[in-house]
Assembly symmetry: C2
Homo-oligomer: 421 residues x 2
């Protein structure tokens, strides 16, 4: 809230996001390690994976049916002689050779035999004994994946810098990698601030609340590939705050939660300034999360207390829903970049509005919503909430409805963007 002149600006959501993405582009990973392929799920690949052979390694049947010579089906109905069966993995010493007028039963995934140039689907043929009747013609090449059509030996299948998911794990397994190089997880320090905070097992006094933000942030950091480091909550008092920020700046990224309200921010700002802080923005036109702060410590002139190289920090607003949303919108891409990923654009998919949405213009809003419906009939409606302090409403929601700043009403049945969790 403290809009001192040296602070650049309260930016639009899009501009704020782009500022973060630009900085994320220049971040480097923090080392590498080797893990078993199954332990790589969620980690970021630190080596390119190439095909160790042609894929497929043989002309692969794409359907159950009959391997034929397409030329034999120019006149239909055609009658062919079935001369054998080809099963996937069969290692017959003498492969069946399909001559004119011949066919072989073949299974999906099996190698097409020499001589055959198409596979007739089992549904399109009638077998009586070894006599196969086919009622429709076929093009040469139909239902056969050519050797090397998916990838040639040596061709790159996956670049480094992607997050490993089940499909990427299948690629690694298919090229024989049981261990993979992945980037080290960035250590992300979490520092909740505020005199009102007590530990989660404490009995809060009447004006106190439990520190839930450190826990939700830890879960979010972990989910996107970081290693959370939870610092004790900081009181609104300079010397202890300074100690804890110094501790946090030893990590690869520092997330402050809270301390961006009027009055409190002066204190956080003063302490950060002692660490040569630059501020890239001190707010974004969003709700929740308006007072989001993004900056970097220790990159400028030498400061009295400079714990190491330049470190980025976010000041995430301390209202719990604001903390959750601003992590997803801004901090996540920095955690991912430190984890070795190329910064990704934020993409919101859409659903139809179930119940009219009314709000005010001026801010881009991310409002807790619930998706319902089934299959392609997805609908979304807002949950009743009491604002960005309402953790229970956020937990009842399963997405955030993204309302553009120029809309004060979205009618039932309109498409609307949603940020999923």
């Amino acid at each position: 809230m403290a809009a001192a002149p040296k602070y650049p600006a309260v930016l639009s959501f899009e501009d704020a996001r782009h500022v973060v993405e630009e900085h994320a582009l220049n971040l480097r990973h923090l080392g590498m390690e080797r893990v078993g392929v199954l332990d790589s799920s969620g980690r970021v690949l630190a080596e390119a994976l190439a095909a160790d052979r042609d894929f497929p390694p043989f002309r692969r049947a794409a359907r159950d049916g009959y391997a034929v010579r397409a030329a034999d089906l120019e006149q239909i109905p055609a009658i062919l002689q079935v001369v054998g069966e080809i099963r996937a993995g069969s290692s017959a010493a003498e492969p069946i050779d399909i001559g004119p007028g011949e066919a072989a039963a073949i299974m999906t995934g099996a190698p097409a035999p020499p001589g055959a140039d198409a596979v007739v689907m089992v549904e399109h043929a009638t077998l009586q004994g070894a006599r196969l009747q086919i009622l429709r013609g076929i093009e040469a090449g139909a239902n056969i994946v050519p050797l090397g059509a998916e990838a040639r030996r040596g061709e790159q299948l996956l670049p480094s810098g992607i997050r490993m998911d089940h499909a990427a794990i299948a690629v690694a397994a298919s090229v024989g990698k049981d261990h993979l190089l992945v980037y080290a997880k960035p250590r992300v320090a979490v520092l909740a601030t505020g005199d009102e905070l007590v530990g989660i097992t404490a009995s809060p006094g009447p004006n106190q609340i439990r520190n839930s933000n450190s826990y939700s942030l830890a879960a979010q950091i972990h989910a996107v590939g970081g290693e959370p480091i939870l610092l004790p909550a900081a009181p609104d008092e300079p010397s202890r705050l300074r100690e804890l920020i110094a501790e946090g700046l030893k990590a690869d990224l520092l997330l402050l939660a809270g301390g961006v309200s009027m009055g409190k921010y002066d204190l956080v700002e003063q302490v950060l300034t002692a660490f040569s802080a630059e501020f890239f923005f001190t707010g974004a036109h969003i709700q929740p999360g308006h007072p989001i702060v993004f900056g970097r410590c220790g990159a400028g002139a030498p400061a009295r207390e400079k714990p190491g190289a330049a470190k980025y920090f976010f000041g995430l607003p301390g209202n719990p829903v604001s903390t959750m949303v601003t992590f997803e919108l801004f901090a996540r891409v920095v955690v991912e970049a430190l984890a070795g990923m190329a910064p990704r654009k934020l993409i919101f998919l859409h659903a139809k509005v179930k119940t009219e949405i009314k709000t005010r213009t001026g801010l881009r809003r991310f409002l807790p919503g619930v998706l319902s419906g089934e299959f392609e009939h997805a609908e979304v409606e807002l949950v009743r909430w009491q604002g960005s302090g309402d953790i229970a409403a956020a937990a009842r929601a399963n997405c955030y409805v993204v309302v553009p700043p120029d809309r004060e009403r979205i009618a039932a049945g309109e498409w609307v963007a949603v940020l999923t969790r």
Copy 2:
């Protein structure tokens, strides 16, 4: 493919999904355990969480600004006297009492002082010394969240049976739970079948491929809260297949991958029948994944080999992309039900088609796609692929485009459903 009369049917996608959901509804969890709150991420909550106090526990300021008596602003401009400052967490022995004509500076999250019934946003007031000028009126209650408005003490905040994510973890932390009861992870056996399969570190012969399906399934099972148990790949040979299926049926769910092609399925069927298998469906009108099989062993008449209670199994088609997609569409909801979750409807969000999609009618298709664009301008296009054996294409994709069975063309700019990963 073997449509023997005792097998019920090849179902539409929707019917097949509903059959699975009905069975999932009757599944029970497999026990409980206690975990630390941060270790609960991704687990399924086995206890309801209730508010241990009113939320908020005091009348909470929702904005930075000034706590006032709304009646004082009936005549504007109004001039008020600022009598103090209220910070979140302050434990002043004597709370400030706001009398007529008075105001107090207040921070977001701080308790509204006695006497005040609204908070004027800092942007709407001008302070000179202790003299506050306000140019617009306000309604009583504005920018104050009433005590207990989010939840009353004792009220349920989260039911059991939900998957813990960062927002649910924030709820747990806010009510003082540092440990939680969660349901046990179901053990899910994975049995890839086929003579063509070799281990991932082996050098495959010309007609062999590495078993990647066990690895992608393990990652998918793990991601949705199951404990994968990878069995050795089974050859197309009855006695070893019988041994391995018996082993798999000791787990809580058995996923067979492969063995649903023409010819091979006869063998798998014969072995499963010896375990009193019932088959609920043996195919769905989808691509990839058409020959998907869903059934249950050991619930019917006593069988020669019955390793325990009734166990569900899926026969997932062995083409790698089919295996991945059919897990998401069908097997996942059973893993989740065994993990204690209430079965969820499948919901596909939407994006705009970037490049015209052409296909054939008759099957619901789940085609590997790539989302691009930014913010609400999400677009999707198909990746070039060589069919459901093309693992590399699936890994280049980041979603599947869902094409209804009656569409053979979807124009650029149309909305289309996507299944995200």
